[in-house]
Symmetry: C2
Subunit: 350 residues, 2 copies
Amino acid sequence: MTHPDLVHALRGGIVESFHRGSLAIVDAQGALLHAAGDVDRPVFSRSACKVLQALPLVESGAVETFGLTDEELAMACASHNGEALHASTAAATLAKAGLDEAALECGAHWPMGDAAIKALAREGREPSALHNNCSGKHAGFVCLGCMLARAQGQDARAFLRGYVQPEHPVMREVSAALQATTGADLASAPRGIDGCGIPTFGIALRRLALAFARVATGAGLSSGRAHAALRLRQAVARAPFFVAGTGRFDTRVMQRLGERVFCKVGAEGVYCAALPEQGLGVALKMDDGNNARAAEVVMAAVIEALVRLDDDEAQFMRGFSDATLRNWVGTEVGALRANDAFRQTLCSLQ
Amino acid sequence: MTHPDLVHALRGGIVESFHRGSLAIVDAQGALLHAAGDVDRPVFSRSACKVLQALPLVESGAVETFGLTDEELAMACASHNGEALHASTAAATLAKAGLDEAALECGAHWPMGDAAIKALAREGREPSALHNNCSGKHAGFVCLGCMLARAQGQDARAFLRGYVQPEHPVMREVSAALQATTGADLASAPRGIDGCGIPTFGIALRRLALAFARVATGAGLSSGRAHAALRLRQAVARAPFFVAGTGRFDTRVMQRLGERVFCKVGAEGVYCAALPEQGLGVALKMDDGNNARAAEVVMAAVIEALVRLDDDEAQFMRGFSDATLRNWVGTEVGALRANDAFRQTLCSLQ
């Protein structure tokens, strides 16, 4: 199936480049309100599903046991910039469990954003696993592992070794939460390895959107899991810097709209969102895997169309869904915008 | 027209993302040997056509007047990394014309590559116009402007002001070369503003490929222009670091294959190449504007299929057209490769 073009990059009055993709908007009963493209083919959910993967952490009682903060819970759902505050927060989480960055199995990489790269380089430093954009998620896995080890009377360090492997008890808990919320049969789903070493599963957008509708409403979840979903959404709404970072879409949108939107980027142009007031879940994937200038633009248009916004908020979102492109000397050279035809179909959902 | 998918990003045994695009391969008489997708719609050639824009510099006699080196001529065709040697070479070119970076109208930006960003940040420095990836091209425009000013007995500094504007004598010369080599009527073509401030024109891939077939062979060009094309190709083959930089596709391919290939990336997934031994020109554009993991993969597959390579060279190119993807801990997680169906159509051209 050829997916519709959802985003246009314009220059000199013509479409210079464009981005195709697929999108599902679903309610908590699984009813499909809107579909663009094929929403049944398997899509690796990548980091867009981190909030689902963090549910067992909250359900385990780790929040109370270790005294985890909103910032640390937001980090458990984060793909962060690797700014100093992100790295120190991941380190603080690990310290609460009596561990340090040696426990992390995510690998090290230079921070995602130019500003964080420059900051580290100016100090003459190299990145550690704490700067990995997934360090907060992995710190959460480590805390979950500590809870499981305690329950079994095992040494945490020994128990944790290999926690990124699919058959490790930590990853079994994480995958079980993903299976329960999406309703997908992960045993028969395509399985890949994510950037940070954990398994990632091919799941239909329709099912990912359902999971986020459940996160938005608690419907279809056990009361413990529904509470965990609410706790994570609230944590991110209170500490949105920690889910992404300076200048990033998720941080800026949730700083502005608070608990009305929970949105989360994933690698390869995947994006998911929970819209609590509407009781809806959203999942999308750009064919070409582009996040910053494709998936974000689509998500902005969806939020603009579906969430109740005042004029200033609508204008704020329009800055993402219809952005002016400028060159190095600051001259306006074009625009990056959600395709008008796509925008119109979204408006018909209101 | 829906363009064919030319590049697949694979993970966990399935296609995770893919890139559509269009491609023209043309001989110096304008015969179309191969077309994928629509090769007649206008495409902004962006930086892929810098060698065409550098022809008037060589034709003006500036090489002899200012004693320009191979490195400086390669820079005139370059989208470089902004490494120290790139910045100093652009400064040296300007100095030969009695000018400095204040003459450049391209604007400043942080270097393109992470390594160059870190190098500058570690020294506590900020980028100047010399670090702009187009600084060599602009230094070439400045030298051309000096030649024009001399011929008219005018002060170079005053003459140069506004050289990026379409109606300035420098840009008229540059656009005239683009029109003559492509055969496109630029007066009626879509016109945008490029990242560095100069005009960029919407030109059919078929015509861009023709221009590169002419650069490859000299056919259809005046003897002065044919000589200029050869001089530029030779300069880049002798100093390929200066056309891009450390780790970059154009630099690595031309370091390995020398004068047998002249290839050049442009913004928004545009790529052009001259294949002198085959007498062919190549022009391609990815729909989504992706260079590093889409346009380069397609160009690698084209070179692999059309250029006479020994086994080691073929394996070297295969490293670009069928690349292993690894995650942060070094685990193989997938592949980035030219679509098999596309590769087969290319093989039928041999």
